[in-house]
């Protein structure tokens, strides 16, 4: 974790410095009869604290005797992130054209296809069909949710 902590600490420090600076621009403390923290006070404290903690993280990583650097973002770890994140994002972008329910069915089919080690086409087809039907009954009929419809009217 040594290298990962160093990079995390540095990135967090930059973001926290920005938050602290922006919060400082908001009112930190109101004066007068009701003297109290202003809208910038808590974000300022939060930002400043993250800055201090990220410095502590960097110092700890520098002092660490750890010699082996464990890889954080390996191919094996990134694969499901890309498949699931990409699949969900793709389906969300299709909502305007296919409607919510059909897009979710397609996403379900895609994820079953991409995440299964042994591809079972019956499972893939079933999920693509069952998700839209089940969700129509649970959300549209049961919970009266208004979901976007697409070019097929569903």
């Amino acid at each position: 974790m040594k290298r990962a902590d160093l990079i995390t600490g540095a990135l967090l420090f930059v973001v926290a410095a920005y938050i602290t600076h922006t919060a400082y621009g908001l009112t930190l403390w109101t004066t007068g009869r009701d003297s109290a923290p202003g809208p910038g006070f808590v974000p300022f404290v939060a930002g400043l604290s993250v800055m201090i903690l990220s410095v502590a993280l960097i110092i700890r990583a520098l002092l660490s005797k750890e010699t082996v650097n464990e890889k954080i973002f390996t191919k094996e770890k990134l694969k499901p992130l890309i498949i699931i994140g990409g699949g969900a994002l793709g389906a969300s972008l299709l909502v305007d054209y296919l409607g919510f329910i059909l897009s979710m069915g397609l996403m379900g089919g895609f994820l079953t296809f991409a995440l299964s080690e042994k591809r079972n086409w019956i499972h893939i087809a079933a999920i693509t069909v069952i998700i839209p039907i089940a969700f129509h009954f649970i959300f549209t009929v049961g919970l009266s949710a208004r979901l976007p419809v697409g070019i097929f009217g569903i």
Binding site: M1, A4, D5, T8, L12, I19, A23, L26, T27, D34, S35, A36, P37, P39, F41, V42, P43, A46, S49, V50, L53, S54, L57, R60, I72, F73, E76, K77, K79, P80, L81, I84, G85, A88, L89, A91, S92, V95, M104, G105, M107, G108, G109, F110, L111, T112, F113, L115, S116, E117, H123, I127, I131, F135, F139, L143, S144, A145, R146, L147
Partner: protein
């Protein structure tokens, strides 16, 4: 006596209404299923199924969520015993002896004792809850803003210190959560904070897409890493007759059941401690008290009874600080508190006076839910066991679709869906970097309330922070918080000095 009167005259009357009974049963069954599913724990389960409560009557909603919560806490232990894969951290202790019993061909009595221990621990927890919660609410009614602020600080510091391995990363997570809670219009002055002109951000970050992303999506992604294990479930030994523990099993487990139920109740009520710590304390204490200490770790049935009864009672009691003080002590109760706020309920001491049907209905439903749980766990264990065999790809596809549709139905907006996805990716990155997400969620839920209490306190004291230390209750809570902050560092120092003295 007033508590009993309220329980019978209000609680059971509400809980026995057909729809509430249905939601209680649904919650218990859905919770147990989620607990059994690999990768989904109680927090993820609550986050994923939260959309089902949209538009529901608040009492029915909380009955459903509570059922999901304690159902999933129990469900997690089934996989601990069968395949040595705890569904939740609170079931790790159950796996030690439970899995050994499975290897010895005693999966039936292990699963049976697990169900009975959960029932006994849960019942003890609910009985204590019935009397303790109104008492605590009565005390908390005298709390002012400084006490509330101190209490929330204690909740956060205790959680980071006791539940996490790395306090620096724990506090980073908590402060990120606190910052996220500040995004949006300032409640007092109306000044926009970190909104960058976006109307969507003016209302701040809704905690539901954040939790669905951080717990739901990230859990799905993490559980999809690596190769899927081939599992063998010994369903032939899970028939009702084989589940019933023998007289000797009961005799061997009695100390574990008593110690587990009581220690779980005591630890569960503390903010930050939770069911995981409770189950390990119960396991260790029972081992120390047992005559057959050498059997522990090799398949002692008391090693299943103690942690499971503690797990069950602690999960029930962990709802006490959330309901009576408005300060959740764990991720699951933070999600439940967020749901309460969504229902328009304000958790805290006045909840008992203002919404007795809601609170006592929940208490009544937990007694009933506990009965549903034992019946379901004895009759349906073979079915629950087979759920583990559902292919991972299939399961994750369905859960993912459920999360996205739930995110959309929150406010009929694709913006919320994208926000859920972003927080899902953030959750995965935080987990890769070993930054805990629970403090972030707790701080997000508590952030605005903390800010209001802080401002009110400082207006009362004309800007002096001494107010938090000069009042007896807030002073005590702040002192405990300081100890909680220092505790992990002191513990490390002691460990280091012990190691050096051993070496020398």
């Amino acid at each position: 006596m007033e508590a009993l009167q309220n329980l019978f005259s209000i609680g059971f009357q509400v809980a026995f209404q057909p729809m509430n009974l249905f939601y209680c049963l649904l919650g218990v069954m859905a919770g147990t299923t989620i607990g059994v599913l690999p990768g989904l724990g109680p927090s993820a389960g609550l986050a994923v199924l939260l959309p089902l409560t949209f538009g529901m009557d608040p009492t029915a909603g909380i009955i459903l969520l509570a059922g999901i919560y304690y159902g999933s806490m129990y469900g997690g232990s089934l996989t601990s015993i069968m395949i040595n894969t705890p569904g939740a951290p609170s079931s790790v202790a159950t796996a030690i002896d439970g899995y050994q019993m499975t290897l010895q061909g005693r999966v039936g009595p292990a699963m049976g004792m697990d169900a009975f221990a959960s029932f006994i621990g849960g019942t003890v927890g609910i009985i204590i809850f019935t009397f303790l919660a109104p008492m605590l609410a009565g005390v908390a009614i005298a709390f002012g803003p400084p006490e509330y602020f101190a209490l929330m600080i204690l909740g956060l510091t205790a959680l980071v210190s006791m539940a996490g391995d790395d306090p620096i990363k724990g506090y980073i997570s908590a402060f990120i959560g606190l910052f996220l809670a500040m995004v949006g219009l300032d409640l007092v002055t109306g000044a926009p904070r970190f909104t960058y002109g976006s109307l969507r951000l003016m209302g701040g970050f809704n905690f539901i897409p954040v939790t669905m992303g951080l717990f739901g999506i990230s859990e799905i992604i993490i559980s999809s890493i690596g190769k899927e294990k081939k599992l063998h479930i010994p369903t032939e030994n899970l028939k009702l007759r084989k589940l019933l523990p023998s007289w000797q099993d009961w005799k061997d487990s009695r100390i574990g059941l008593i110690v587990g139920s009581l220690s779980g109740s005591a630890v569960g009520v503390l903010p930050g401690a939770g069911a995981t710590i409770a189950s390990f304390i119960a396991y260790d204490s029972t081992k120390k008290l047992a005559k057959n200490k050498e059997q522990f770790g090799k398949g002692a049935i008391a090693g299943v009874a103690a942690p499971e009864s503690a797990n069950s009672s602690a999960s029930i009691l962990s709802m006490v600080p959330m309901l009576t003080l408005g300060v959740p002590g764990s991720a699951s109760t933070a999600i439940m508190m967020g749901a309460l706020l969504m229902f328009g309920m304000r958790p805290g001491p006045l909840l008992f006076d203002n919404n007795p049907e809601f609170v006592w209905g929940l208490v009544g439903s937990m007694y009933i839910g506990n009965f549903f749980l034992i019946i379901a766990s004895l009759l349906l264990v073979p079915i629950f066991a087979r759920i583990v065999l559902v292919p991972r790809g299939l399961l994750n596809a369905v859960v993912m679709a459920f999360i996205l549709i739930g995110a959309y139905s929150l406010d009929n907006s694709m913006f919320t869906v994208f926000m859920t996805l972003i927080f899902g990716v953030v959750g995965v990155i935080l987990k890769f970097l070993k930054i805990p997400v629970v403090p972030l969620v707790l701080a997000l839920v508590l952030g605005r309330l903390m800010e209001i209490s802080l401002r009110q306190s400082l207006i009362m004291s004309q800007g002096s922070a001494f107010i938090f230390f000069s009042r007896p209750i807030s002073g005590t809570l702040m002192a405990i918080s300081i100890i909680a902050v220092l505790y992990p560092f002191i513990k490390k120092l002691i460990q280091k000095s012990r190691n050096t003295s051993k070496e020398s």
